[in-house]
């Protein structure tokens, strides 16, 4: 598989996951802001923006509408919902012969629907818009699952998706760490991961910090938990790498992900929760390190070569 195509697939995975997770996070947090009469809108918005890595300016008070514009509808920013969907489509466009026609059509039709997004927000509210985004992302995930061979291309797509999921889940949990950790806020987090019902069934309604953190961070079976996403990324990397030698693993990316996974797996939930901020910051660092390592290993410089005619002596 061409390095350029592999890179495109990896980024399709990342951008689509980013669009979906950002939509989920925004949806639930905005709802929470409206429903909670004691929340300070400006502070809550500021906290959300800084967790999502968006720059904030101090001079004007922030509102929920402004957050939707910045993180949802800013087409120039590939970390906003709309920007990420457009970027995913642009990557698919450069890999048209590899991405299945159905996946391409899904991404393209979604992209064609973006200009209506602002109107949709105004007419039907943000909830309808975020619902539409989640649905389009789910359609794409389903089509990828149904139409892609489980070859390298699939591995890169899933790798991208998993890395982004770790990153986004870590950010999501940070919103809690910053808010000071009250019980309703855990409920918010679980909801935004679509984990609320599963959590209730697993812990039989005993809602406390320890269980919620354990579930989102460490659950082996819930696919959006940080641990599950790290494990998926690890197995993708293992399949991509050349066969294991006698000692250790073959690539840097595997080392980074493996260390991070064992760090979660072999520490007690209490210990992790006590140092939640540190653990989460470590996870975010892991994501960017993995990204660099994968790019170096698999997407070696495929930028254009410039030739200089007078260089021959």
């Amino acid at each position: 598989m061409l390095s350029r195509i592999a890179e495109s697939l990896y980024w399709i995975g990342r951008y689509v996951e980013r669009a979906e997770d950002t939509a989920r996070i925004l949806d639930v947090h905005l709802h929470q802001m409206l429903a909670d009469p004691w929340v300070a809108e400006d502070a809550a918005c500021r906290s959300l923006l800084s967790v999502m890595g968006a720059p904030t300016s101090d001079d004007m008070p922030l509102s929920a509408g402004r957050v939707v514009t910045l993180l949802g509808l800013d087409s120039g920013n590939p970390s906003s919902v709309i920007g990420a969907l457009a970027a995913a489509r642009e990557n698919a466009r450069g890999a048209r012969e590899t991405v299945s026609s159905e996946m391409w059509e899904c991404l393209n039709a979604t992209w064609l629907g973006l200009p209506d997004a602002r109107a949709r927000v105004e007419q039907q509210g943000v909830h309808a818009f975020f619902g539409w985004v989640r649905e389009r992302c789910a359609v794409l995930a389903g089509l990828a699952d149904a139409t892609m061979s489980r070859d390298e291309g699939w591995l890169f797509l899933v790798l991208g998706r998993s890395v982004e999921r770790v990153d986004m889940s870590a950010r999501l949990l940070s919103t809690h760490a910053r808010a000071g950790g009250s019980i309703p806020s855990w409920l918010t987090l679980l909801r935004s991961c679509g984990a609320w019902e599963t959590f209730l069934r697993t812990y039989r309604g005993s809602l406390d910090d320890r269980h919620a953190a354990e579930f989102l961070l460490l659950d082996r079976l819930f696919p959006r938990s940080v641990f599950a996403a790290l494990s998926t990324a690890e197995s993708c990397l293992a399949e991509l790498a050349p066969g294991p030698g006698r000692a250790g693993v073959a690539t840097d990316a595997q080392r980074i992900v493996g260390r991070s996974r064992t760090n979660l797996e072999f520490r007690g939930a209490d210990e992790l929760l006590d140092d939640l901020a540190g653990v989460l910051a470590g996870l975010e660092r892991t994501c960017s390190q993995v990204n660099d390592a994968v790019s170096r290993r698999y997407f070696r410089a495929t930028s254009a070569v410039m030739w200089v005619s007078e260089a021959v002596a």
Binding site: M1, L2, S3, R4, I5, A6, E90, R93, G94, R96, E97, T98, S101, W104, E105, N108, A109, L112, E152, L240, Y298, R300, T302, S303, A304, V305, M306, W307, V308, S309
Partner: protein, 523 residues
């Protein structure tokens, strides 16, 4: 009910559907009978479905960097079997002659020595590349893919307007148009026997593999080289690569070292044997041509010269589709093949002769003036539709550079009914059949791209000039006695009907009744 054909007037050109007003020709009878009862609203709805499907699938061409859907008209253009066999023979004949010409001018030059084509015409062509001399293709093919632009004149005769043997584009629309039309007009497909076009990618792949250099082995690696996503024909490059099952590469994906070309993959470098390039000669190799090209691969041409890689179509083919050389093609056919041309040219004036030039300058307003190396309809001046200022400008340019232009009689292109607003109106069309040469035979795709000029009276059909396209149906010949109809395969003798799919564990009706009664009692 509104009649779609209301106020349909026969235009100045040959009308392909109607011999006289209201009386469809035989080939169009079944289509006409299907369209006649449809209301304009029905047809409009289907046209919208068609447009939407194209947009969602991203079937677009980019004009100045903006992606636009390629408008597909809902009324197809039909060509009878007998008419098609003339086109097929004529196109193949032309390609054979042009192949012989190319191998000659980049080799021995017999045609120049014999004086059939003046040496000055060849060496002054902008696309005659001395760099291509000495590159001998392994199986003798330089024109792997060709598109020959045809028009039907006022008497319904197919004439050649120009040849495209560099990187002819448009075949993807032929394939996609057919797919889309069979979805929106299934009833016409049922009543007409149309020759399929979907085998084109496998034919092309066969031709490209056949062209692989000698050392490539049984499974040569073929790639499609595209300039990138911002190219106007990117959709086509992606479609061909996808349907051939080969990699679509950009220049930056390839490296050339030691006269070997390889692509960068996740598993290291992989050797490439055949490059179907969709990049112009000038951008192909910065060592030989434009040094500022970032689309090409440095060293590619020397690798081809060393016989390590095949470039398709070959470098330097542009000399054969120069519009001045076009005027010599009938002579080339006689010279190389000893045959008479099957498809005539359009009457054309060579302006190098001062008397001819003076004659042409006198009657500019009745002629069509074309730059010899233009493509996409750029720079064409149609005398009868030009303003005085435009005519004055073209007069000056002609006098300054007679080698750079040709003048042609203005052919009133044939017309086909086209959905304009909510009525059918005659519009001018041309036809670009595609031919693939695998070294043993030249196969012409039954169909080709029909382009239609959408503004009333317009004669320039290029997509970059606001043209649309039509699906082109070549009817299957009625089977002769020599060619018996394929026997329907008998059903398997002991075929028993397959068992029903397994049912799920649904509740029985008595259970349902009891459950309902339980609920009903409490409220």
């Amino acid at each position: 009910m509104a009649d779609l054909f209301e106020n349909y007037r026969l235009g100045p050109g040959w009308d392909e559907m109607f011999a006289t007003a209201g009386m469809p020709r035989e080939t169009y009878e079944s289509l006409h009978a299907t369209l006649q009862p449809l209301s304009s609203a029905d047809l409009g709805v289907r046209a919208d479905v068609l447009a939407r499907a194209f947009l969602d699938q991203g079937i677009t061409f980019a004009l100045k960097g903006i992606e636009r859907p390629f408008p597909l008209d809902i009324v197809p253009r039909i060509i009878a079997a007998a008419e098609w066999s003339v086109v097929e023979t004529g196109v193949a004949q032309r390609i054979r002659a042009l192949e012989a010409f190319l191998s000659d001018v980049y080799g021995a030059g017999e045609v120049l020595a014999a004086g059939v084509v003046p040496r000055s015409v060849v060496v002054t062509s902008a696309h005659f590349h001395r760099e291509a001399a000495g590159i001998v293709p392994h199986n003798g093919v330089r024109v792997h893919v060709a598109g020959v632009d045809l028009v039907r004149d006022e008497a319904g005769v197919f004439r050649v307007l120009e040849d495209n043997v560099r990187v002819p584009s448009g075949v993807s629309y032929v394939i996609e148009n057919r797919r889309a039309m069979s979805h929106v007009l299934p009833e016409v497909f049922a009543s007409t026997r149309i020759r399929p076009v979907e085998s084109y990618p496998s034919q092309l792949l066969g031709a490209l593999r056949a062209a692989a250099p000698a050392g490539a082995g049984d499974e040569p690696t073929v790639v499609v080289l595209t300039p990138g996503v911002h190219n106007s024909a990117y959709f086509e490059h992606a479609l061909l690569a996808r349907e051939m099952g080969v990699e679509l590469v950009e220049g930056r994906d390839l490296i050339c070292a030691g006269n070997q070309v390889a692509m960068r993959t996740t598993a290291g470098e992989q050797r490439v044997d055949v490059i179907y390039r969709r990049i112009d000669d000038e951008f192909l190799d910065p060592v030989q041509f434009r040094t500022d090209s970032i689309l090409g691969v440095a060293g590619l041409l020397n690798a081809a010269r060393a016989g390590q890689v095949t470039i398709a179509n070959a470098v330097g083919n542009g000399v054969a589709d120069d519009k001045l050389l076009y005027t010599y093609v009938p002579d080339l056919i006689r010279f190389y093949l000893g045959e008479d041309p099957v498809l005539p040219n359009v009457e054309t004036y060579r302006l190098a002769d001062p008397d001819v030039l003076a004659h042409v300058l006198d009657r500019l307003d009745t002629l069509v003036l074309k730059p010899v190396d233009g493509s996409g309809g750029a720079g064409i001046v149609i005398g009868s539709q030009a303003t005085d200022a435009e005519l004055a400008e073209v007069r000056a340019r002609l006098s300054r550079d007679p080698r750079g232009w040709i003048a042609q009689r203005e052919v009133k292109l044939s017309m086909v009914p086209t959905l304009i607003g909510n009525r059918l109106r005659p519009r001018h069309v041309d036809l670009r059949p595609f031919a693939v040469n695998d070294g043993t035979r030249i196969s012409v795709l039954p169909g080709g791209l029909t382009r239609v000029a959408l503004p009333e009276g317009a004669l320039v059909v290029n997509s970059s000039q606001g043209g649309g396209s039509k699906d082109t149906w070549v009817l299957a010949a009625p089977l002769g006695p020599a060619e018996p109809a394929p026997e329907p395969r008998p059903a398997a003798p002991h075929a028993s009907p397959a068992p029903r799919p397994d049912p799920g564990p649904g509740a029985t009706s008595s259970q349902q009744q009891q459950q309902q009664q339980q609920g009903g009692a409490s409220c």
